[in-house]
């Protein structure tokens, strides 16, 4: 009797277990959990220009012009756009689009969004730059809008890929706090946010009224796990289905793990060395001395031969293979192949220590000099390791290099005050050559807004002229030629020393598939169940 009861209870529990397992596998298809490495600071899409924020904003909202995984423009809330006059851009809007609260999308919403951009209080990095060129917004009909500018402005579609469109009725008078509390976070995107705990997690639900392809998951949990090892461990334990910013030291192991699938693509972030152009040729650069530690009396970095020598001394292949474990490609310019403004005829970066020594001797430094190379230790992938590796390579051609790596906040402040002679830094470009040109290679000019991140203070009037022409050129072919010419000059001049372009890497569980994006954004809609 007793045995019988026990047997029956075992049978019952077996059924129960099977039931749970079944429910589990169904839930698996319905729910996905993503863990990202960098915290999202706000759900207000116009508060902070930051990749993690933009990724979440792209999940909830749409832009007039969306971008595909390779950052090419694709129709978003606008189905087509063109410059009807040199200073007028016309956008045709997508019909029958509804916001998460049911409101219809019209040109009014676009006009409202553009007007809000400069009016977000306490914004750490404002989106106002995208509405500044617009002098007047003209609503032609509910599905046609015209943006007037003072001068011809070729970058308008690119700018619009950064502006997430809000619902006027919901977001009028809404504060950033209202977005964080989800009261105002109604967009047109594939998922809507249903819960948000700041800096910890966001929960999304599928928006069934989405105008595009239906999102694959009913529910997506979006967690922030900033510790690299913890993120990897969470994936391996099956707690999460997708992680971003896979640490390169775990890469080899994850690649060989058959429970895991890696998705990767060459990104848009160049790691490069900035050099001191602030000091004139006959001035001392702060961290350069002769071999005995005495001031040199001149700034060797103003000599293009010295800059070329420093660039040639670097074995980029070794850095990519050994330090980055293959998660980067050696670079000779800011953008990877295939992006608007890529200079096809620049020679591949050569590693030639003997040639570098000869160039140094030619420039009057047969015995080299001493330099300190600075860099961050918590900002870019393996940043402190890269500066040490470059220290080795420069020391070998006679430029005895001391290395110092500091936390980013200390480092970037000093780099911005031109305190360093040579420093490692990175730049994530928009997919258009004019973006790094304007921010890094153009002569520093705060009124024009040029050279905002030109921390070495490189300056070349030829580059500036070509850039100025390109910024009002509406003929795309002509504009690309100008951008390419400007970039070629700046790179031949070694205005910066490009090192490598990082690869963006995600890792997912085997039963999920993720589309890698070159803009680093980790978006819920890029994850779907793997095809069987």
């Amino acid at each position: 009797m007793k045995t019988w009861i026990r047997r029956r209870s075992i049978a019952a529990s077996a059924v129960a277990v099977a039931g749970v397992a079944l429910a589990g596998s169904q839930a698996l298809a319905q729910t996905a959990t993503i863990a990202v490495g960098a915290p999202v600071t706000s759900l207000d899409p116009h508060y902070h220009q930051l990749s993690p924020n933009n990724a979440v904003a792209d999940t909830i909202f749409d832009k007039l012009v969306n971008t595909d995984a390779q950052s090419r423009n694709v129709p978003g809330l606008a189905t087509e756009w063109r410059a009807v006059e040199p200073t007028v851009w016309e956008f045709r809007l997508r019909p029958n689009v509804r916001f998460h609260n049911g409101n219809a999308f019209t040109a009014e919403d676009v006009a409202f969004t553009l007007q809000r951009l400069p009016n977000v209080p306490n914004s750490p990095s404002s989106f106002a730059v995208y509405s500044r060129p617009i002098t007047r917004v003209e609503i032609v009909d509910p599905l046609t809008i015209r943006l007037h500018t003072a001068q011809p402005y070729p970058l308008m579609p690119l700018d619009m890929t950064n502006v997430r469109i809000l619902d006027k009725e919901t977001a009028e008078n809404a504060t950033t706090e209202d977005f964080n509390a989800l009261r105002a976070a109604a967009g047109t995107g594939p998922y809507r946010a249903v819960a948000h705990r700041n800096g910890d997690r966001i929960e999304f639900e599928r928006w069934d009224g989405y105008w595009g392809d239906r999102a694959p998951f009913q529910r997506v949990n979006y967690r922030m796990i900033t510790n690299d090892a913890a993120r990897t461990a969470a994936l391996l334990a099956g707690d999460v289905d997708l992680i971003d910013q896979v640490p390169t030291s775990d890469l080899a192991r994850l690649r060989s793990d058959n429970r895991v699938r890696i998705s990767e693509t060459v990104g848009l972030r160049l790691i490069f060395l900035g050099l001191d152009f602030q000091r004139a040729a006959n001035e001392n650069s702060p961290f350069i001395t002769d071999n005995d530690g005495r001031p040199l009396g001149r700034n060797p970095l103003r000599d293009v031969r010295v800059r070329r020598a420093l660039s040639m001394a670097i074995d980029r292949r070794a850095i990519v293979d050994r330090v980055m474990e293959g998660a980067a490609v050696p670079a000779n310019q800011f953008l990877p192949q295939g992006v608007f403004g890529f200079v096809a005829d620049l020679p591949a970066p050569a590693y030639d220590p003997d040639g570098a020594k000869r160039l140094l001797a030619e420039a009057g430094y047969p015995n080299g000099f001493r330099i300190q190379l600075n860099g961050p230790n918590d900002r870019y992938i393996n940043d402190a390791r890269i500066v040490q590796a470059i220290g080795q390579m420069w020391t070998r051609i006679g430029v005895r290099t001391a290395v110092e790596a500091q936390p980013w906040t200390t480092f970037v402040g000093r780099a911005g005050r031109q305190d360093y002679s040579a420093f490692l830094i990175g730049w994530g470009s928009n997919p258009d050559g004019s973006h790094p040109l304007r921010n890094i290679m153009a002569t520093f000019n705060s009124e024009r807004g040029w050279g905002a991140s030109n921390r070495g203070r490189y300056s070349n009037p030829q580059v500036d002229d070509l850039l100025a022409q390109s910024l009002t050129e509406l003929d795309e072919a002509k504009r690309e030629r100008q951008v390419v010419d400007a970039m070629r000059i700046a790179m031949q001049d070694v205005g910066v020393v490009p090192l490598h372009i990082q690869t963006n890497i995600w890792a997912s569980r085997r039963n999920f598939e993720h589309t890698a994006r070159n803009d680093e954004l980790t978006r819920a809609q890029d994850l779907r169940p793997a095809a069987r």
């Binding site: 640490p247 220290g391 080795q392 110092e404």
Partner: protein, 308 residues
């Protein structure tokens, strides 16, 4: 009676009561513990290796020109590009781990011993002063000690380094600030007892200057417990320096100490490249254990209460 005779005689008299024959007796008592003797031998070897590292190490791990990134993360026993064998493997920069450990020991030992010495001088002086002067001086110094000891030392050291910035000298300063309180409290305790002894009264009657009484009469009689604390604190200082370097606040990245070597390899642990962290960790462990063994036995030998 001349002053000179008094000076010489006074410290010797009470010591005779505690340790009957000075040095030889001390040595034989110390050697009673074979473990402690072993610790002493191991520590001596470690110290010699550290001192003679530039002649013993196959590579100068602080000279960037001698490192090759292509030799990075090689397994123990691999022959590198420079022609010699990396018996303990290499780290991510191609630094020979054996050389790195030898040089790292130099930093660890000199920082540990240096900071312990300075902290000992500062702490002992303040402790003597507190015990001898009493009253308000005592209160102020001892409350400062209490305040200092109520914070975890790693927290205090982190705050100081955040303020001073990186560098070996700054680590020493931070360690001194963290550690002086232990010496001060130990010395004050002993000195409080000693100052009521007759020889101090005698010295006071002779109107000797205070500094002379403090350092020539009181201090020598407080030495035994001070030596014990100092040995233990050297080990603690080495561990603390390793912790600070592990957290990236100590030595420069191109001149790693043991803590930074461990930190460098930490990220590769999951990938199976154990040797980058493992061997410096062993070196650190052996060093600290050997010092502690010596310290333990010193305490047993020098502590009169344990002897009865």
């Amino acid at each position: 009676m001349s002053q000179a005779v008094m000076d010489g005689a006074a410290p010797a008299a009470p010591r005779k009561d505690k340790v009957e024959t000075p040095f030889r007796r001390f040595v034989s008592e110390f050697a009673e513990s074979k473990i402690a003797l072993g610790g002493l031998i191991v520590f001596t070897i470690i110290a010699l290796v550290a001192i003679f590292a530039p002649w013993l190490a196959p590579q100068n791990p602080y000279d960037l020109a001698q490192l090759d990134i292509m030799d990075g993360r090689m397994e123990p026993g691999t022959v590198g590009g420079a022609g010699f064998t990396y018996w303990l493997g290499t780290d991510d920069q191609g630094r020979d781990m054996l050389s790195g450990i030898m040089y790292g020991l130099r930093i660890s030992l000199s920082v540990g011993a240096g900071s312990a010495l300075i902290a000992c001088m500062v702490g002992a002086t303040l402790g003597l002063l507190a015990a001898y002067a009493g009253g308000r001086t005592d209160t102020v110094i001892m409350r400062l000690v209490d305040l200092q000891l109520s914070f975890p030392s790693i927290l205090v050291a982190l705050m100081i380094l955040a303020f001073l910035g990186k560098g070996v000298m700054n680590v020493v300063i931070a360690l001194v600030i963290v550690e002086w309180a232990y010496y001060a409290r130990t010395v004050r305790g002993t000195a409080l007892v000693e100052r009521r002894r007759e020889y101090i009264e005698a010295a006071q009657c002779l109107a000797l200057p205070t500094h002379r009484i403090l350092f020539r009469h009181l201090l020598p009689n407080c030495l035994p417990p001070l030596i014990v604390v100092a040995t233990m604190q050297v080990a603690r200082a080495i561990a603390l320096e390793a912790t600070l370097s592990f957290l990236g606040l100590g030595v420069p990245i191109t001149e790693p100490s043991l803590g930074l070597l461990i930190a460098n390899g930490y990220e590769y642990m999951l990938s199976g490249k154990y040797w980058i962290s493992f061997y410096p960790g062993i070196a650190l462990l052996v060093t600290i254990v050997s010092i502690n063994l010596v310290g333990d036995q010193l305490r047993d030998v020098l502590n009169p209460r344990l002897k009865k």
